[in-house]
């Protein structure tokens, strides 16, 4: 009970601090600005009718995916079932591209907002006032939740921005579309940002200064992206090789070592894909937070 109360106290206090932090305000405004531009572009494209492909029937959507643009769409990471479902619901062609762009930059936003949550307080020793009053686990969870809350707020603005731009562009955004894709986008952004914020918390607990934590976080993101690229490329090569009767490369499994492999599945209409996405994303988040907790508990302050 005391543990939970401490987490809430720290979360509230940290949120209050973040709301007055110039860097957080600047990063948030930059993000909102980027979303506004992205939404404007989407609005123009929808308004001009250049990106309308649906609503399509399931069969038409499948056929559409076998075109060259279909391969590009699949490269966004969304599963075939997800993309078919999008076009069956009449989503514009650019919709998956835009949302995958949002998901691409989300880890960077999490890093920028949270890199100094622990590491930034080490040189000033200000954590020393707090750690005699509560457990380190409460401190790191409270700090993590506050940063996550900020990112979730920005994710909400992003999703609303996309929906508003579709609607204002003349796209028929009804309750059904919002319930299906608005909620899916927001839910995916919330879970993904939780995982990336947990990675940021981990980097911040092992570093001695804020800049070191940011560098470490960016390096980790690059390493995870590289793993996914190696895995995807090995998979594609393996598929080609399989046709010739060869074995799939072990490298193909590298893509499962990064949360971004699982995030697109969260939008899938297929239960098994959704559950895989949910389990993968949450598992990575939990592992990152557990490691952060262990690292923070063991370190000198």
């Amino acid at each position: 009970m005391g543990f939970m109360r401490d987490i809430v106290t720290i979360w509230r206090a940290e949120l209050g601090r973040l709301s007055k932090n110039g860097r957080i305000i600047a990063a948030s405004l930059l993000w909102v600005f980027a979303v506004a531009i992205l939404s404007r572009v989407l609005h123009r494209l929808v308004e001009g009718g250049e990106v309308a492909v649906g609503p399509l029937s399931d069969e038409q959507a499948q056929q559409f995916l076998s075109s060259s643009i279909g391969a590009l769409l699949e490269a966004t990471g969304f599963s075939r079932a997800t993309i078919v479902s999008m076009f069956v619901h009449g989503a514009p062609l650019n919709f998956p591209f835009f949302f995958s762009a949002v998901m691409f930059f989300l880890p960077l936003l999490c890093a920028l907002i949270g890199f100094d949550q622990i590491a930034g307080e080490i040189p000033t020793r200000s954590l020393r006032f707090i750690v005699v009053r509560t457990s380190r686990a409460s401190l790191i969870l409270g700090a993590f939740l506050a940063r996550w809350t900020v990112v979730v707020g920005l994710a909400f603005i992003t999703v609303v921005g996309i929906l508003v731009s579709l609607k204002s562009g003349g796209f028929p955004v009804g309750i059904g579309f919002i319930a299906r894709w608005g909620v899916a986008m927001f839910g995916t952004a919330v879970l993904a940002s939780g995982t990336w914020s947990a990675l940021t918390a981990l980097c911040s607990t092992v570093a001695w200064t804020g800049p070191t934590a940011l560098f470490l976080n960016l390096f980790a993101l690059l390493a995870l992206r590289t793993l996914r690229s190696i895995g995807t490329s090995a998979l594609l090569n393996g598929e080609a090789a399989l046709v010739e009767g060869a074995h799939a490369s072990l490298f193909a499994y590298f893509r499962y070592l990064t949360p971004s492999q699982f995030e697109p599945y969260l939008m899938s209409p297929k239960a098994i894909e959704f559950i895989t996405g949910l389990a993968g994303t949450v598992a990575f988040g939990v592992v990152f937070m557990l490691l952060a907790n262990i690292a923070f508990a063991r370190r000198d302050l």
Partner: protein
């Protein structure tokens, strides 16, 4: 009296650097204990271990029975004024104190913050941002947070360092008030201050405890006194004949040194009577040595 702090064989190593070596110490409850030592002696490291900031390399310590390494075990047990710790920026002074009070599970954080601000004489700065305070003000705010919730043990690492004389006096007065109710461990390079405040002294050097005893034993206040002689011949035989006297000698032409056992007031009074009866004029009587003399001598002896 049960110990507030029990330390057994405590060592701390930072990489290749051995900061503390085999520290063992008992600080009884209700004591005001002064940590003394030159720079690099290991005082702040010892504070860090007691507060759970640092992990010991070897040994054990208990703070009022709690192990600082167990998460959250120090809550309600101690408060600390860390050396050179900056108040968290972006908070107002009241906001920061309310935050600390909430973490201490106080029922009315705002009232606790108001009271703590009044105690350090800074009721008028509650609305200011922590990072806009002067060094002295920030130190007093940091001291104010140690008073929240009345924890039984207060650790103060260099509480008056960098303060102007008036602010330092305010802090000393506060520590004197705290001393009557709690166990206090305070480190300072101002030895006169420690002599006035503390009833126990722990002298550290090069990561080891050199001496740990009552302040009066340290300064010899309970074992020796000196008399500044202005005129006359000191009757050393009569003074030495007193049953409590263990040694009486003239340190120089004008200073009589007496080492004794038992109550200081008895032998000082009778010695003064003897001197007066022999028409020996004296100007001052003082017990013990100054703490800095005692510390320097002990350190010299320890390093020899």
């Amino acid at each position: 009296m049960s110990p507030a702090i029990e330390i057994q064989g405590l060592s701390k190593r930072f990489g290749a650097f051995q900061a503390l070596t085999d520290i063992s110490l008992l600080v009884p409850s209700g004591t005001c204990c002064g940590l003394i030592g030159p720079n690099g002696a290991g005082k702040t490291t010892l504070f860090g271990l007691m507060c759970g900031y640092l992990k010991p390399s070897a040994g054990s310590l208990r703070i009022l029975g709690a192990n600082p390494q167990i998460p959250g075990s120090l809550k309600h047990v101690l408060s600390v004024l860390p050396q050179d710790a900056a108040l968290p920026s972006a908070f107002s002074v009241t906001g920061f104190l309310c935050y600390m009070a909430s973490l201490s599970s106080l029922p009315d954080p705002k009232e606790a913050a108001r009271k703590a601000l009044a105690q350090v004489g800074l009721s008028d700065v509650g609305g200011r941002r922590c990072n806009t305070l002067s060094h002295g003000m920030a130190k007093r705010i940091a001291l104010a947070q140690t008073m929240l919730g009345d924890p039984p043990l207060v650790l103060l690492d260099e509480p008056t360092a960098g303060l102007d004389p008036a602010s330092a006096q305010v802090v000393r007065t506060l520590i004197l008030e705290l001393r009557s109710k709690r166990t206090i461990v305070v480190s300072s390079h101002n030895l006169q201050e420690l002599e006035d405040l503390c009833d126990m002294a722990v002298l550290m050097d090069k990561g080891r405890i050199v001496e740990a005893k009552l302040m009066s034993d340290f300064t010899g206040a309970s074992a020796e006194f000196r008399v500044s002689i202005a005129r006359g011949t000191v009757p050393l035989d009569l003074i030495s004949a007193q049953p409590q006297c263990r040694e009486a000698k003239l340190e120089d032409e004008s200073t009589l040194y007496v080492r004794f056992e038992g109550a200081a007031e008895d032998i000082i009074t009778t010695t003064a009577s003897i001197l007066a009866s022999r028409q020996v004029q004296f100007t001052e009587i003082w017990t013990g040595r100054r703490l800095d003399d005692a510390v320097l001598e002990t350190l010299r002896r320890g390093r020899a």
